[in-house]
């Protein structure tokens, strides 16, 4: 969580993450360049580096794209998500080095402006070889660099989470453009099946994980069977379905609501974290606060407000518990509005008393 903006807040986990990231990228670059130079000693340096950085960027983008659905499928991978933006920025920088080498090597020093040459330098001829694959890479890089430049929370706060999130969802457009860039570029020259299998396999893994994660969330987005009662409350779930300090996510009026059970009470808040739209309902109540699983942003369950001095707020929902079931009013309260938590124990006692009285009167 942040109250003021600092370049980077380092901690042990972040250092380990970045060490593994830089180590992995460095190992790939060194091994690819050394292996190529040993096997093909006449390769020229700029082409070798161009290939190494381009391949590294494309592969790292696959990793970045896979982290999200992987965490949806298994929350134990969440540490990979926490600093995913570092991997994203690294992808953009690797792509920038690749693109700079391409422009300097292939387009500069000729009779046309190098940037103009990227677009008009490869005329359409109606054949596959004539497909101008470099503009695909150019636009993908623009997206990746835009994302890298706005990756800091400063931009998240100033653009607002929905705008920021929409902007960063363009990563999928960048990926599609890069698949085209590779398919109509290097795959037209390097015909070894290894390359086709690598690109195709990457596409299958990325799509497969996203589809699997989407299927897993289908039940969450299914509205409760019961309609709203006269008082506007909807039967959401059984109290027993919610683990202590955890939440159950349900979909009400098209919006995901996280119903938390903690300390003998039930509260409901919007499932969307104000930071990066993380799934609050997959978080946990720690130190009395709902804690987002993505980046640890915290909110008080009854008010939906971050504890002072932090200022983030999410909408709350009115709740009540009857006969072991949680009822939620689908209309959200303004962010930060206190909604009285529904006591579980008292309700249970009163339910048990009610059941006992009913039973006695029947006898």
């Amino acid at each position: 969580m942040g109250l003021e903006y600092k370049a980077v807040r380092w901690n042990r986990q972040k250092r380990i993450y970045d060490f593994a990231l830089v180590g992995g990228v460095g190992a790939f670059l060194v091994l690819f360049t050394v292996s190529t130079k040993v096997l093909f000693p006449f390769v020229t340096g700029e082409i070798l580096l161009m290939r190494a950085f381009g391949a590294a960027a494309f592969i790292l983008l696959h990793v970045v794209l896979c982290i999200g659905p992987l965490c949806r499928l298994n929350p134990k991978f969440l540490p990979l998500l926490y600093n995913r933006r570092h991997a994203g920025v690294t992808t953009g920088l690797l792509g920038l080095v690749h693109a700079t080498l391409v422009v300097v090597t292939y387009h500069a020093g000729g009779d046309t402006n190098p940037i103009l040459s990227v677009f008009k330098g490869s005329p359409l001829t109606g054949s596959i070889a004539g497909v101008p694959f470099q503009p695909f890479g150019f636009f993908a890089l623009v997206i990746l660099l835009l994302m890298a430049a706005t990756s800091h929370d400063f931009w998240l706060a100033n653009l607002s989470a929905p705008v920021w999130k929409s902007l960063h969802m363009l990563v999928y457009a960048a990926y599609a453009l890069l698949v085209l860039h590779v398919a109509f570029g290097v795959l037209q020259a390097e015909v070894n099946p290894v390359y086709v299998l690598a690109v195709g396999g990457g596409l299958v893994v990325v799509l497969g994980l996203h589809i699997a994660a989407a299927f897993r969330e289908v039940p969450t987005d299914r509205a409760p069977d019961s309609a709203a009662g006269d008082d506007g409350f909807v039967d959401a779930c059984a109290v027993a379905d919610i683990l202590e300090k955890r939440a159950r996510i349900i979909c009400l009026s098209g919006e995901r609501v996280a119903i938390f059970k903690y300390d003998g009470k039930v509260s409901a808040v919007s499932n969307v974290c104000q930071h990066q739209n993380g799934p609050l309902g997959e978080g946990k109540v720690l130190d009395g606060c709902i804690t987002c699983p993505w980046h640890g942003y915290q909110y008080l369950p009854d008010t939906g407000a971050s504890p002072p001095p932090f200022v983030e707020k999410v909408p709350t929902f009115n709740v009540r518990v009857r006969h072991g079931r949680v009822f939620v009013r689908p209309k959200p309260n303004p962010p930060g509005t206190r909604a009285e938590p529904a006591p579980v124990e008292a309700e249970s006692r009163s339910s048990r008393l009610e059941e006992a009285l009913t039973s006695a009167s029947e006898r």
């Binding site: 901690n11 042990r12 986990q13 972040k14 593994a20 992995g24 990228v25 190992a27 790939f28 670059l29 091994l31 292996s35 096997l39 093909f40 006449f42 390769v43 020229t44 700029e46 082409i47 134990k76 991978f77 969440l78 540490p79 990979l80 926490y82 600093n83 090597t105 292939y106 387009h107 020093g109 000729g110 009779d111 046309t112 990227v118 330098g121 490869s122 001829t125 054949s127 070889a129 004539g130 694959f133 470099q134 109509f184 570029g185 290097v186 037209q188 020259a189 390097e190 070894n192 290894v194 390359y195 690598a198 300090k245 978080g283 946990k284 720690l286 804690t291 699983p293 980046h295 640890g296």
Partner: protein, 258 residues
């Protein structure tokens, strides 16, 4: 029940989550290592070519401007039946051919120049340094000998190959061919680098045909849309010293589907 919860801003991850992530990271690192080697080994387009970048040498010979500027350099110890001159294409730095006006003025004259060698197979090129070309003072013997190198007509032939820019393909860039290099090849040929039809043979070394029009003129601007694709060209082939020249109207070049 294990209810571990990860928070990134804490110093340590819970042990169960930590060990899971360590396994995942180890897998990713191993995958990166394997992929790096696999992708390197699988490359098929890198050939044997050399650009002696940074090594400047001096050359003496007779400059010829047609069909593209080249230098005839006397070959020491020539044996009978072998041409007594080596033909070196001449180009400028970056993506430009030798200045046509300069080449015309010095056509047939003996010159000294400085440059860097580029070579692949039996083809050699010199990237000439700035204004290093100087006309020789006493060249008569050399010119007389070079002028005896007459073209030999090898008849009409139909050839299938790829149009490449000779400078990159011979060694300035390796690989300097096929689609990824297309834009660069177009810029180079547009800038005056001699266009060459590269004919790959299944049994034997690649052949290189300098492309000229039916009347022997440069065709740089006419071939730009056909670079880096399979093409079929029918024309008159002639040997001029070590150079093979293919005379054909670029309008008759045929793009082949791939």
């Amino acid at each position: 029940m294990n209810d571990e919860f990860y928070i990134g801003w804490e110093e340590r991850a819970p042990s169960g989550i930590g060990s899971q992530v360590r396994r995942a990271v180890a897998f990713l690192l191993a995958f990166a290592v394997v992929l790096a080697v696999l992708l390197a080994v699988a490359q098929r387009t890198i050939g044997v070519s050399v650009f002696e970048w940074g090594k400047v040498k001096s050359f003496s010979g007779v400059l010829r401007s047609q069909p593209y500027p080249h230098l005839l350099v006397p070959r020491p110890g020539a044996v009978t039946g072998q041409t007594s001159f080596s033909s070196y294409y001449l180009v400028k730095p970056f993506k430009f051919g030798l200045d046509a006006g300069l080449a015309r003025r010095l056509d047939g004259k003996s010159v000294n120049l400085k440059g860097t060698l580029i070579y692949r197979g039996n083809q050699t090129m010199i990237e000439v340094i700035g204004d290093s070309i100087q006309q020789q003072d006493n060249p008569s013997q050399l010119i007389a000998s070079a002028s005896t190198t007459a073209p030999v007509n090898l008849g009409e032939q139909t050839l299938i190959g790829e149009i490449v820019d000779s400078k990159c393909y011979l060694g300035v860039m390796n690989p300097g061919q096929l689609t990824p290099h297309r834009a660069c090849a177009i810029r180079c040929i547009s800038g005056g680098i001699p266009p060459v039809l590269l004919v790959r043979q299944t049994n034997g070394p690649a052949l290189y045909f300098l492309l000229v029009s039916s009347d022997g003129r440069p065709v740089n601007k006419q071939v730009l849309n056909l670079v880096a694709e399979p093409v079929q060209i029918t024309g008159e082939v002639e040997r001029q010293g070590e150079l093979l020249i293919l005379r054909a109207d670029p309008a008759t070049y045929r793009r082949l589907a791939r």
